[in-house]
Amino acid sequence: MNARILQLALVGGLAASGLAVTANAQQGGDVVIAQTQAPPSLDAHVTSAQAARNVNLHIYETLFARDENAVPVPDLAESLEISEDGLTYVFQLREGVNFHDGTVMDAEDVVASLERYREIGASSTLLSAIDSIEATGDHEVTVTLSEVQSTFLDNLSSPRAPIAIYTAEQAALGANEVDYIGTGPFRFVEYQPDSFVRLERFDDYSVNPNYSERDGLAGAKEVSIDSVTFLFMPEAGSRVAALESGEAHVVETVDGPSAGRLAENDAYTVHNVLPFAFQVIKFNHAQAPTNDPEFRRAVMAALDMEEIMAISRPDIYQIDGGWLFPNSPFYNDAALDQYNVADLDAAREHLANSSYDGETLTFIVDNGRPNVDTATVVQQRLAQIGVDVELSVADWPTVSQIGFTPDGWHFWAHGFGIEPFEGPASVIAPWVDGVSMQADDPEINRLYQELTTAMDPDDRAAIFAEFQQHMYDDAVAIKAGNYGLFQVSADELENFVPYRIPRMWGVQLNQ
């Protein structure tokens, strides 16, 4: 086989967060993290909820993981060979990697885990290009694709619903039935589903020898603390109180005024995690008049993004129309002249040419404050051009069920967080086959197909620019801006660097 060999192990440490664990680091301590929601499951395969990722990525690891810049790098894989035709991936696994139950990882565990994910994974489409998975050695796994997929490593390393490696025994169990045994730097201890999860340092953890430093979700995961407890505290005031009374060391997210107050106190560090997500306003293309591009253009022209973001995400937002985060290598400025025009006269012109007939339109939104604020600002703004919008506020399960049907809504606002972090294909994917707007858009389907088969990064960048242009030209959906989180850590917790999850490797607790 005339193969391209990726000596990926050598890249370790190049893009690390720059904070290696020093020899005299403080050892021990029990860190407490206050987070908003409880994870729906600790079976990493079956949930793509952020609350679950925060915990699960401490227990489990994947073959490839995202580095500090969200680039896929080896984690449980030692190296990878990709065949010239791009269809065969041969993974050499790291040897001597221990599971929390004392067994040592081999190729059978990896095959069983990938097969389980294909069957029951929450994002099983990540592996939809796979034709076969075989153990071709004790520590070698060969994956054959049915068609070329340029994003295969992006998919494999996705933290969304992580393609975690379980023991073969655990991988034979059904959804939500596993015993939470992984290879990660922390092992599971106790889970009170509506209260807390407690993890302990896994003393037999096999630190990846190919790295010297923490690097995204990969790298050298050196653990200095004894344990980490995730408390699930939906009440914002209670989370801040837990921090201030010394009962928590990290708060996953606090509101702007609390962040401002805590920033003045030397005992805490406020981290502005920006950008963390997009604020997006979706249209239902299966209903009139939101099926009419002229009407959608009228809405896009009318909106003042500064107003939306300043009200819905005060103090922590960016006015940015790109459909990726600005630090992404695929970020581009295609069609950005159409972003944030806030021109009511232009909007009225588009509206006059549209099929809108004065009817009342429904804006569905979950009861999260920022999304309700977004919907309210849009409602008030559209009233100025004569568009009548009523808000329909419900909880997330209700809204998400309605929003994936063709009836009962015209607008829907929510955040897109993990998609832009993952990269171009993940940003386009929700619009493929009309899933997010309830009507097929052949142009988007074509671009997605081209992007996922284009092996050259420059080609992919050009395709993504075309996608962004199309999103604006047809006003498929509206991106209002980027928003972030205020995370707060107590100063006794050293070397804490925010990422997609609050990582507890590479940190030290001064007691």
Binding site: A38, P40, S41, V46, T47, S48, A49, Q50, I120, A122, S123, S124, T125, R160, A161, G174, A175, N176, Q192, P193, D194, S195, L231, M233, P234, E235, G237, S238, A241, A242, E244, S245, G246, E247, A394, D395, W396, P397, T398, V399, S400, Q401, I402, F404, H414, G415, F416, G417, I418, E419, S426, A429, P430, D433, V435, S436
Partner: protein, 314 residues
């Protein structure tokens, strides 16, 4: 008495059936299911459907309802979709927290409510009466979530005397339990004292105007003896009624207080189950709450006979 209790227990069966039917109707009417909690906003309908199948949510509602009743009749409330344990276990783990919180709050609310209400009545239309009633009104008007947060800021953040939240089981450490319960129980107590104080005052004022009280006073008995021995026992019936109502209300109030003080009680369990559409837990939890309400009502009815000899159950 025994036949009365048996009749009351039998008559509660249709109430429980009605509660379970209404819960099923609400679950059926409200859109959404647990799959939406497992997945993010970009999940495709295929992924949602796949997960629904994995979680056993693809059965029609009538089929789920029939199998639920079958299980309940054999004493099984089913398995939680998210908690990885039986609904009965989930409820039994959390019930002691909610019940001990409500019991503590009820005890102090009744104690101080009756004390303050009686003091107000004997000092009728004097500054003592008006001050107590103003405080009672304030207690009634303060939202429990706000009071809880203020108490956390003062006693946990500023003074550092008590924990800001969390729960320590009484079996592990009595002092730890008392410390973890102090602020939530006080929050619930303050918001309920007002009800009992106002009811006690009104009932006591009625009784203090009765001839037998005047007679007792005329006999030369000390006024405090008259109040405690003659007036208060006769004012207890309406106080008991309002206490029964409050006991039920405390379970409702406990939902908010459990959320603020991060107590893993029954209220938090049911709220979490509703938000994540964990149907078996909603069913089991609401059924349990209905049972608690019925038991409280029964106890109140039995206590009537105990405190008022004129009440007889045959």
């Amino acid at each position: 008495m025994l036949s009365f209790v048996l009749r009351r227990l039998l008559s509660s069966i249709p109430v429980l059936i009605l509660v379970s039917l209404m819960t099923f109707a609400l679950i059926w009417l409200v859109p959404g299911d647990p799959a939406s909690v497992f997945l993010d906003a970009s999940a495709t309908p295929e992924q949602i459907e796949n997960l629904r199948r994995q979680l056993g949510l693809d059965q029609p509602i009538w089929s789920q309802m029939l199998s639920w009743y079958e299980r309940v009749l054999s004493g099984d409330l089913g398995q939680s979709i998210l908690l990885r344990r039986s609904v009965a276990d989930a409820i039994l783990e959390r019930l002691p927290i909610t019940l001990s919180l409500a019991a503590l709050a009820l005890f102090f609310a009744v104690l101080f409510g009756i004390l303050l209400g009686s003091l107000a009545a004997v000092n009728h239309q004097r500054w003592g009466d008006q001050s107590i009633m103003a405080i009672a009104l304030l207690g009634l008007s303060i939202p429990d979530f706000w009071l809880g947060l203020v108490l956390i800021v003062v006693f946990a953040v500023q003074l550092g005397w008590l924990p800001s939240g969390g729960y320590v089981p009484i079996t592990e450490d009595f002092v730890g339990w008392a410390r973890s319960m102090a602020l939530p129980a006080f929050t619930l107590t303050v918001t309920q004292i007002g009800f009992i104080a106002r009811m006690t005052r009104s009932a006591m004022l009625d009784v203090l105007r009765q001839d037998y009280v005047r007679t007792a006073d005329a006999k030369g008995l000390s006024h405090s003896f008259v109040v405690l021995r003659h007036a208060l026992p006769n004012a207890l019936v309406p106080i008991l009624t309002v206490t029964g109502v409050i006991a039920g209300g405390l379970l409702g109030g406990a939902v908010v207080v459990e959320q603020v003080f991060f107590l893993p009680g029954l209220g938090r369990l049911i709220i979490g189950a509703i938000l994540s559409r964990d149907f078996p837990v909603i069913q089991g939890g609401l059924l349990m709450l209905a049972v608690i309400y019925l038991v409280i009502n029964l106890i109140v009815d039995l206590l009537y006979a105990l405190i008022d000899p004129r009440v007889r159950y045959g």
